[in-house]
Assembly symmetry: C2
């Protein structure tokens, strides 16, 4: 039993955060995590302008064949907003989570 | 009974296509369509880099109060890919549909 330092990141759920790296990096990350026998699903998290990229990653992963011949499907997509406080005003940024499962 | 020329576009479903206009234009379009008493849902369509903007529109609309005090919720989000043929190779573009209902 390992000590859980980050309670929000459970051991049976994997996250991939989309940022400014090349698209293929994130596709590989998701595929590697899905390929692990214990992991049946991966959640792609994104915010702001990276949401488009997250959808690209999900669509590419969906078309990718897994070694075990299992099919990858999009299980759930959810959106939300986060509020930032800058000096004078509040700014909202949209966030999106795409859960893929095999 | 009206003749249905476009079977995929039913009369009780409205679409808003996201493009390069300012964000507020699309927010207004969606709100106006949702405000019509007959229309209970609107689908926001987007592709490629405009997907992020579509999520922004949906999130802003979700927070907007309607005159009739009805609540707007995201009913469904779906993604897909479209394939283009350029001279030498095929290019894929991601698409997204967000259905809002009141």
């Amino acid at each position: 039993m390992s000590v859980e330092k980050h309670p929000e990141k459970r051991e049976n759920t994997n996250f991939v955060f989309i940022g400014s790296k090349p698209l293929v990096n994130y596709v590989k990350s998701v595929l590697i995590q899905l390929d692990k026998s214990q992991e049946s699903q991966v959640t792609i998290k994104s915010r702001g302008k990276f949401i488009s990229k997250a959808v690209d990653v999900a669509e590419i992963v969906k078309r990718s064949p897994l070694p075990l011949n299992s099919k990858i499907t999009i299980k759930n997509i959810s959106t939300a907003s986060e509020t930032f406080k800058t000096r004078d005003k509040e700014t909202n940024v949209s966030t999106m989570e795409i859960t893929l499962s095999k």
